[in-house]
């Protein structure tokens, strides 16, 4: 059974949630919209489809402490960081970001399980929101994602005056237990109009032929990586706004009389990515650029039942300073062999 909430009651609804749980939602700060702590004073921006950073930070933050070493005279005290023990709600996640959590699960929840990530996943309730106004940079449809029917613990659809909810798990149902019931048919019109736009998206029918795992060698050796990577600045913008990039580094921060060991997002675009004692095996930007797209389009699917590690959110299309992104790669390299 679906539930509904008049939009004017949304602030009170969110306040209700925030009284017992941490609430994270797309809020505007310093002119930019990102997933951040929601309070009554926050500017909620449910109209913004693409937050600058994806929602992955709620489960896999950019920086998190792992352990603290503290000098005490001649001894060193070791304080391992604690995993999350409190429930939180992640509100307003789009279908693409919701899919990214499934991809991250495959990495962080497979043996050996990452305790920090696992605790956040266990304590988080994901409330998704259908994409009323898909944008030209959206290409989620290529990966079997439906912006009109987002996953998560609780799915939501917004009309001009009402928010509709469909619970998919017990955690999701608990959040909307107090709301009025309504008929499933009330969102049909909204879903139809979303799908009509999704079908018209300019990048909705990319040809991914040639990226299957068994073409690994051909894709790797393709001479066109040279041209494709030419304009790449080697910054980490694409990797840091990406919902599926999952590489991290572990660094030590010298606090004077101790060490804070933390992990932080890493980027294969950086020159010191996976730097080893012998140096680097990706000496130029060509190899680094190739690594990113081979990982998303070839290595990941070949290790994960053919699932691509891209959800088509389009953030990199909007944010790459050089307009040099995954769609260029797919269109250039993803053509049929006989074409």
């Amino acid at each position: 059974m679906m539930k509904k909430l008049p939009l004017e009651q949304l602030p009170a609804f969110l306040k209700g949630i925030s009284e017992t749980k941490t609430l994270v939602a797309p809020v505007e700060k310093g002119g930019q919209v990102n997933f951040d702590l929601w309070t009554e004073d926050s500017t909620l921006r449910l109209d913004v489809l693409k937050t600058v950073k994806s929602a992955k930070g709620a489960f896999f933050p950019q920086v998190e402490d792992i352990v603290h070493f503290q000098m005490q005279g001649k001894n060193i005290d070791i304080h391992p960081a604690e995993v999350l023990t409190e429930d939180f709600v992640l509100f307003g996640v789009r279908a693409c970001d919701a899919r990214s959590f499934e991809l991250l699960d495959r990495v962080f929840l497979s043996d050996p399980t990452d305790p920090f990530y696992a605790a956040r996943r266990a304590h988080g309730t994901v409330v998704t929101l259908a994409c009323n106004r898909p944008e030209e940079t959206c290409f989620c449809t290529n990966f079997g994602i439906d912006g009109a029917d987002p996953a998560g613990d609780l799915s939501a659809w917004m009309t001009e005056d009402t928010l509709y909810f469909q619970a998919n798990t017990e955690k999701g149902a608990a959040l909307v237990a107090g709301l009025a019931d309504c008929d499933d048919g009330e969102i049909t019109e909204t879903q139809n109009s979303i799908r009509e736009i999704l079908n018209k998206l300019p990048l909705s029918n990319l040809n991914l032929t040639g990226f299957e795992g068994d073409h690994l060698k051909e894709r790797f050796d393709d001479p066109r990586w040279e041209e494709l990577s030419r304009g790449c600045l080697g910054c980490g913008t694409c990797t840091f706004v990406c919902p599926t990039c999952q590489c991290y580094d572990v660094k030590d921060f010298d606090s004077g009389n101790g060490i804070r060991r933390f992990r932080c997002w890493d980027s294969c675009m950086f020159s010191d990515f996976t730097l080893m004692a012998h140096g680097t095996n990706r000496p130029t930007q060509k190899e680094r650029f190739r690594q990113r797209f081979m990982h998303k389009l070839v290595y990941f699917p070949s290790n994960n039942d053919g699932i691509y590690s891209c959800v088509g959110c389009g953030r990199c299309l909007e944010k790459c300073p050089q307009s040099n992104h995954i769609v260029n790669v797919i269109k250039t390299l993803g053509v049929k062999e006989d074409a």
Binding site: K29, G30, G31, Q32, N34, D47, L49, V52, K53, Q62, V63, R133, P134, E135, E136, T137, I197, K200, L201, P202, L203, R230, G231, L233, G234, C235, G236, T237, T239, F240, V241, D249, K251, F253, D254, R260, F262, C264, W265, D266, S267, F270, S271, D272, L275, Q285, L317, E318, K319, P321, Q322, S323, N324, H325, V327, N328, K331
Partner: protein
């Protein structure tokens, strides 16, 4: 028109390489590219070519003579890189391309216009076709911020100029710097904390910056003690940007690429512009990249030089 001229140049030297922009997937995608005689037809130059190609030249050095397209503002960065001997002036045939201000796709999106399929310029109006119908917006409302601080229509370095330029500067470019100076230290600190706390350390500002031309940046050196891929705390967030601003002091031409490329919209150019303003005040007006071979005030010495530390102890006047 530009491609025709470039093809003429090929008749004298068929080995030329060309540095310009190529059209991409979205209406705003213009990727810096290097073209040969075969691919020259893909070169594009229009109102969306906002990026500065001067820095890109550093990674595109070959034995071939390079023809490069530079907008008036880009020519300052080119000169500065020649001054620093990072580029050799003789290796380039510089075509100064006309510029009437470049359009910021992000600004169009921020007005709430969504699903943009095409943007057509009709005089001072942009006609925008979207998935949700067509709409219009005045061109001047969505120019890149750097165009609002335009340094003028003159190319400071060019072997030939194609097309007309326009000075798109609006008002006083030091207005925001003056506002920040008028704040109390606490207010100013709060302003920069709000901005710099958005930083995701993607390094786009540094990598796009023509003045940041070190072959190996200290922040990329694992042995430096400051190489952190993410800021571990507030102090580090501030440190990275302030160190960078100081490092490019006197050499920054105010090209505005740092703020253009920042995914989080941090007005990084304000740090540089504050330093430019101070340099002008202490040593007389100076514009980095005005000409090749200039000595900038911070690397030059005269007995008449002011003593900024003595004049402004502790940051106060």
């Amino acid at each position: 028109m530009i491609v025709n001229r470039l093809q003429e140049l090929l008749q004298d030297d068929e080995n030329l390489q060309f540095v310009g922009w190529e059209k991409g997937e979205t209406p705003f995608d213009r990727t810096p590219k290097t073209f040969t005689a075969e691919t020259l037809g893909n070169l594009c130059y229009d109102s969306f070519c906002g990026s500065n190609l001067s820095k890109y030249l550093l990674s595109q050095k070959t034995d071939k003579k390079t023809v490069v397209l530079l907008k008036p503002c880009d020519s300052y960065s080119f000169n500065q890189l020649c001054t620093e001997r990072r580029l050799n002036r003789d290796a380039y045939h510089v075509i100064g391309v006309g510029c009437k201000g470049k359009i910021d796709g992000e600004k169009i999106r921020k007005t709430g216009i969504k699903g943009i399929l095409s943007v057509r310029e009709e005089g001072e109006t942009l006609k925008i076709e979207t998935l949700y119908g067509t709409t219009e917006i005045p061109r001047k409302d969505v120019l890149l911020d750097k165009c609002l601080a335009c340094k003028g229509k003159e190319h400071k370095c060019a072997d030939e100029v194609l097309g007309e330029s326009e000075d798109t500067c609006v008002g006083d470019k030091y207005e925001t710097v003056a506002k920040l100076e008028a704040m109390t230290p606490d207010e100013r600190f709060a302003f920069w904390r709000e901005e710099l706390s958005k930083c995701i350390r993607c390094n786009a500002c540094r990598n796009a910056c023509p003045a940041c031309s070190c072959i190996k940046c200290v922040f990329d050196n694992p042995n430096s003690g400051v190489q952190n891929k993410a800021a571990a705390d507030d102090f580090e967030e501030n440190l990275f940007h302030i160190i960078r601003a100081y490092h490019v002091a006197g050499r920054c031409t105010d090209c505005g690429e740092c703020s253009r490329v920042c995914p989080q919209g941090i007005p990084l150019h304000l740090l540089n512009r504050k330093i430019i303003r101070d340099v002008n005040e202490f040593y007389g007006d100076y514009q980095a990249g005005d000409a090749i071979g200039q000595r900038h005030p911070l690397t030059d010495f005269t007995f008449e030089d002011s003593e900024p530390n003595a004049e402004r102890k502790g940051g106060g006047k």
